[in-house]
Structure formats: structure tokens, C-alpha cells
């Protein structure tokens, strides 16, 4: 048994066979051959050896001509390793005696040998593992190539192990087939982590090198609560996790039961629970978790990991993809909220910014690059013809800025009208309140928009002038800070007076203790990541709006963040004792 520690990014426990996705994505699908077919399987391995060695010699020839003999010799050596008699003997024995497939037998043999090298305590020798993996890859490509068709479908649910996964790869994972995943690279705030969380797939990232210690089909455990990957678990550990899994299943059943129940307080106040999504694939989660719509559809994913900016059609398709899954629900699309570095069409490099969070980003960037902004506005408007699409501007700091953005929107509307392209003339237009100046001017802003959405993550950092990723000042970044809570209260009051809806779409909505406070100051809409919704619904159904109001009034009179946190924790302990246990 081996225990690897990484970063827990998506909760839950999964036990299952490993599916090792290496960098070149050669995957080992099946572990066992049909009984009695080993002579054919060994013959298959021998054929793969001949082609792989031939391939390596071809590379040797090319490299020798281009770079010189001594470089070509490396590949000549690889060819010799591929044809190694000991390797063949060991692989053949495993195929014959254990009934393994050639791929699985090869992978086991190579990994065992690589591990021996790695254990030699000599850096240069340990690096030689990469030669072994090169050989493995060459042979696997031959073997897998021979039976590509059979591998297209996984025969059973597996745990995906990889060096790294891109966010879009993660978003496309089939939750019925992938029980959990664990990667060598990655961190807590990566998009991969956000997506895993949204999909509800237990995940651990940043584990460091471990792929060399595991073969496809090995039994592994991913503990997404503690950030642990266990290879080859012993009986006791396995039993412990089986029990944990059962407890989790019970908890999940309870949450599923909540799905179809309305989010209404005990004294009859309806709270609308909306979901924050990042990728179109997450829309299914909105329904599964019983949310009332999409409170925040981030659109930055369209720009990530690509060379050219997305076209209007790509924007449009991404919006329709969500709409098709949620035809009768509101979908709030937030316009681009990223820095200049993400755009390829922003050719004029801006001067190096000393403080990017106070610089040209988000709406500011869009207003500096109107042609780019128009592409997105056109796509959102076009999508509005097909459902309840709403548009929201992020990082608005002043009234003038909001007016400029709206003016551009009207201009694009006119353009579409002239082209006779259908769109919703009365599309609701909202603004995020996440800059203190906007919060202070909320009463004025409220007259010119249809709704507010309070982005607490940025609001907290701007109000307290503290970057939460800077560990020396992170202690200041606190959602419980009375200045933050008072400001949010002011924004809610302004929205109430102007009779426009207001929503909170930051992480505060996802935390039961703050959700209680937010309901208490009069919020009737909360938007959180889909997986958090059942928990918040449970909270809502356990409280009365009147108690929450009294608690919130008490909080608004308190002096320090510490006082507020401990007071809210106390309240929550009384209402939902199990919520704090997690």
C-alpha cells in the first residue's frame, strides 16, 4: 500500500480500478485475455516488438543524418532495449501465467523496472526511467494500434490517473465512467479543480510524480475530502473507505431527496437558488442539484487555452448549449471578466501593470477593445431570442462606465435590428457589484439596471485592500468583516428601494453560515456552485426568515470579524449541527 498526498479539490471518496492516461494518451483498456489465448497474445507482443524496433531504427537513421551518429545511437539503443530478451521473457511469462494482456503485462514489467531504477538513489540513473517509458510508449502504441476499436469504450467505471488534465478534458469526463481522478500536476485554484467540483467528481491534484508506481487496472482509492490517493490499499484501509463511501451515499441520497423540494423557509419565504457555471457541460448539474437557473455563467472558458479569439458563432453556440438544457430557466451571462493577457486580438500590449487587479481588466478591457466586446454582445443578444437570457456586466466602477457599456449594447441591438436578426428587445441588463465605489453608488446604479449581483470574492478584497492569495495579508481577507457585511447590506437596501432583484454570486452564498446572514438582510436569490446548492437548500428549509433577520441585525452591530464568525457559527450549530461537522 502506498499513500500519496496532494491537494483536495473536489470532495468525495471513490474506490476502483485505475485508468492511467499518460501524456500521449495511450491507454491500457483491458487487463485480461480470454482463457487459453496466450499463444496468440505472445505472438501479438512479438509483432509489436518487431514494428516498434523497426520504428526506433528508422528514427535512428533520420536523427543520425540530421544531427549526427552519436544522437542517432540513442534510438539504436532504444531498438535494442525493445528487443531485450529478458523483457520479452518476463512479459511472455506474465501473459502465459497470469492471463494478462500484452499491454498490461508490458506496463507492469516496465513500471517495476523503472521503480528499481528510481530507487537507486542516483539522480542520473533515476532519470533513465524516461528511456524505459519511451520504450513502453513505443510498444504500447503498436499494441494499442492493433486493437484501437476495442478500446473505444471502457468496460467498467474507473479512476482516472493522469499527469495533468485540461479544464475542457475534465469538463468532458463522463461521470458514469469516471468515479474520480487524481493528477500529478495542478493546484487548488486551477480551472480543472473548479470543473471537477462542479461536476461532483472527487478529485485530488498536485500529487507529484506517482504514475510510475501504478498500472492500469490496479485498485486505487481517491479521497477527495483529505486530498489523498492510495495505491494498492490493504484490507483494513479498503474496509475503512468502503464504510466512508456508504456514509457518503446516504448523505447524497438525502441531498437528492432535497432536489425536488422547494427552497422555502419554515415561515414561507421562497429563496431562489441559482447555480454558477463555468462550462456549458455543467448545465446538467443545475437540474441535477435542483437549482432554479444559472445565476452566473462565466464566459472566460471560451478564451482559455487557444490561439485565436472565439468567433461570434462559437460564443452563440456555447450559450445555446446551456439554453437547450435549461429551456425554461433564467440564465445570467456575465460578459468577459479577464485580464489582457488572455486575448490574442488585443495586439497592442498594455504597459506592464504594477497592480493588475487595479488595472485594465474585465469590463474596462472590453470598453478599451470595443470590437472584441461587440462580438460577445452580438452572440448574447442572438441567444436571447431563444430563452430567458440575461446579461450582466462585471467590475463596473462608475455610473459613466455602466452607461458606456449600455450604449454599446444598444448600438449592437440596432445593428441586429437592421440585419433583421431576432433577439429579445427587453433583455434584462444587470451589473455586478464588486467594486466598493459601485456599492456606495448602488442607489444611483439601481435606477439604470434591471438587477444587481454582488460578487463577494472581489468585493472583499477591494474593501479590505487585501489580496487573499498573499499569505502575509490573507488574514485581512475575511467575509465576516463588519465593513464587508455592512456594505452588502447597503447594496441590498438600495436594490429594495429601487425594487430591483439582487443576488449574491460569490463564495459566501455557498457557505451555510453566510447564507443565513444573507437571507437575514433580505436576499431572496443566492447563486453558488451547483454542488453547494442542496446544502444551502437544506439550510433554507430549516430556518425562519424572521430568525435570520434578527440574527443579521445583531451581526450588523458587531465590532470584529471574529465576533461575527463565532456568532454565526453558533447560530448554525443550533440550526444544522451536521453542517459544521463536515
Amino acid at each position: 500500500m502506498e499513500i500519496k498526498r496532494g491537494v483536495a479539490v473536489s470532495p468525495g471518496v471513490a474506490i476502483g480500478p485505475a485508468w492511467v492516461l499518460d501524456t500521449e494518451e495511450v491507454r491500457i483498456g483491458e487487463r485480461f485475455i480470454a482463457p487459453g489465448t496466450y499463444p496468440e497474445e505472445i505472438e501479438r507482443f512479438d509483432r509489436a516488438v518487431r514494428s516498434a524496433a523497426g520504428e526506433a531504427r528508422q528514427v535512428q537513421k533520420t536523427v543520425s543524418e540530421r544531427l549526427g551518429e552519436q544522437y542517432g545511437a540513442i534510438f539504436g539503443a532504444h531498438a535494442a532495449l525493445i528487443e531485450d530478451p529478458s523483457l520479452r521473457q518476463e512479459v511472455a511469462a506474465q501473459i502465459r501465467d497470469q492471463g494478462f494482456t500484452a499491454e498490461y503485462a508490458l506496463s507492469r514489467v516496465i513500471r517495476r523496472r523503472a521503480k528499481l531504477l528510481a530507487g537507486l538513489n542516483d539522480r542520473i540513473l533515476a532519470d533513465r526511467q524516461s528511456d524505459l517509458f519511451d520504450i513502453e510508449k513505443r510498444l504500447l502504441r503498436q499494441l494499442v494500434g492493433q486493437r484501437q476499436q476495442q478500446l473505444q469504450k471502457l468496460s467498467q467505471p474507473t479512476i482516472l490517473l493522469a499527469h495533468d488534465l485540461t479544464p475542457s478534458e475534465t469538463a468532458q469526463l463522463d461521470r458514469r465512467q469516471v468515479l474520480a481522478f487524481a493528477t500529478e500536476a495542478g493546484g487548488r485554484t486551477s480551472h480543472t479543480a473548479i470543473v471537477a467540483n462542479a461536476l461532483g467528481i472527487p478529485a485530488v491534484v498536485g500529487l507529484g510524480p506517482f504514475l510510475t508506481d501504478v498500472s492500469g487496472g490496479d485498485l486505487v482509492i481517491v479521497d477527495g475530502n483529505r486530498g489523498v490517493l492510495i495505491l494498492d490499499p490493504d484490507a483494513e484501509t479498503l474496509e475503512h473507505y468502503r464504510q466512508a463511501q456508504q456514509a457518503q451515499a446516504g448523505h447524497e441520497r438525502e441531498l437528492v431527496e432535497l432536489r425536488d423540494l422547494p427552497a422555502v423557509t419554515r415561515d414561507g419565504v421562497r429563496i431562489f437558488l441559482l447555480g454558477n457555471i463555468e462550462f456549458p457541460e455543467e448545465a446538467a448539474q443545475i437540474l441535477e442539484r435542483g437549482a432554479d437557473g444559472v445565476g452566473l455563467y462565466r464566459t472566460e472558458f471560451l478564451y482559455l487555452g487557444r490561439k485565436e479569439d472565439p468567433t461570434e458563432q462559437e460564443h452563440f453556440q456555447a450559450y445555446l448549449q446551456v439554453l437547450r438544457q435549461l429551456p425554461s430557466k433564467p440564465i445570467v451571462i456575465r460578459t468577459l471578466d479577464i485580464g489582457a493577457d488572455k486575448f490574442s486580438s488585443v495586439t497592442e500590449p498594455l504597459a506592464q501593470e504594477r497592480n493588475p487587479f487595479l488595472g485594465v481588466r474585465s469590463l474596462r478591457l472590453c470598453l478599451h477593445n470595443k470590437n472584441l466586446f461587440r462580438v460577445q454582445l452580438r452572440a448574447i443578444l442572438r441567444a436571447s431570442a431563444y430563452g430567458d437570457i440575461r446579461i450582466m456586466f462585471p467590475m463596473v466602477s462608475t455610473l459613466a462606465e455602466l452607461r458606456e457599456a449600455k450604449l454599446l449594447l444598444y448600438d449592437v441591438m440596432e445593428e441586429l435590428s437592421e440585419e433583421q436578426v431576432p433577439f429579445n428587445q427587453r433583455i434584462p441588463v444587470g451589473t455586478m457589484i464588486e467594486v466598493p465605489s459601485a456599492a456606495l453608488m448602488a442607489d444611483q446604479l439601481a435606477r439604470e439596471v434591471d438587477f444587481f449581483s454582488i460578487g463577494t470574492n472581489d468585493l472583499i478584497q477591494y474593501v479590505l485592500a487585501a489580496d487573499r492569495t498573499n499569505e502575509n495579508v490573507a488574514y485581512l481577507y475575511n467575509a465576516s468583516d463588519p465593513a464587508v457585511l455592512r456594505l452588502i447590506d447597503q447594496v441590498v437596501r438600495a436594490a429594495e428601494r429601487a425594487r430591483i432583484p439582487v443576488n449574491v454570486c460569490g463564495e459566501m452564498s455557498a457557505e451555510p453560515m453566510y447564507a443565513y446572514f444573507l437571507v437575514g438582510i433580505g436576499l431572496r436569490q443566492l447563486s453558488a456552485s451547483p454542488h453547494a446548492i442542496p446544502e444551502i437548500k437544506r439550510l433554507v428549509r430549516s430556518i425562519t426568515a424572521e430568525d435570520a433577520r434578527r440574527a443579521a441585525q445583531a451581526v450588523l452591530q458587531m465590532e470584529t470579524a471574529q465576533d461575527i464568525t463565532s456568532y454565526l457559527r453558533d447560530q448554525l450549530r443550533r440550526i444544522l449541527p451536521e453542517a459544521l461537522a463536515v
Binding site: 552519436q70 531485450d84 530478451p85 529478458s86 523496472r113 531504477l117 533513465r128
Partner: protein
């Protein structure tokens, strides 16, 4: 031809330690002889000197001592040839 048992120790002279190309050359050389050849480094043994994998697995770094042991009619020539390869410095 009479059977011989020849044993000789050499020191790995290449800064990279016993590396892939060297292992492959050893294995190729070994394949040309009739005799059985074993390499020993500390507690690790390569029982089949015709397998570059097994030779690599010795994990012999720079300056390590490797013992070559051969049994067979051509053991003397085999040991000499392998000793030459192992104690040689390879150009990068």
C-alpha cells in the same frame, strides 16, 4: 575446447555512470560469445549479460565497481571485451 571460468573487476569510468548505450553495447558483445556471462555490482546481479535491461538494472554509477564473471570456452575473450566497454568513457 576446455571450459574456463574468468572473473575480473572494472571501474565505471564514464561520468554518466553505466548508461543505456553502454548497456546495449555490452549486450551486443555478449551475444557474440558462447559463454555464460554474469555482471555483479554490490548486491545486484545481471544474470543475463545479453539483456541491456538487466545490465541497466545494476544501477552502477560513476566510479562503481562491476565484476564480470564468465564461464565457457571463450570466457577469456568475452571478459576482456566487456571490460573494455565498461571501463571506457563515451563521448556525449
Amino acid at each position: 575446447m576446455p571450459q574456463q571460468r574468468v572473473v575480473r573487476s572494472v571501474t565505471i569510468a564514464d561520468r554518466q555512470g553505466l548508461h543505456v548505450r553502454q548497456a546495449v553495447e555490452c549486450a551486443r558483445a555478449a551475444a557474440r560469445f558462447q559463454c555464460q556471462i554474469i555482471l555483479v555490482h554490490g548486491e545486484r546481479r545481471a544474470e543475463n549479460c545479453r539483456s541491456p535491461f538487466d545490465i541497466l538494472q545494476l544501477g552502477a554509477g560513476y566510479g562503481a565497481e562491476v565484476t564480470i564473471e564468465a564461464i565457457g570456452s571463450d570466457a577469456q575473450e568475452a571478459v576482456e571485451e566487456i571490460a573494455t566497454i565498461l571501463s571506457r568513457e563515451f563521448p556525449n
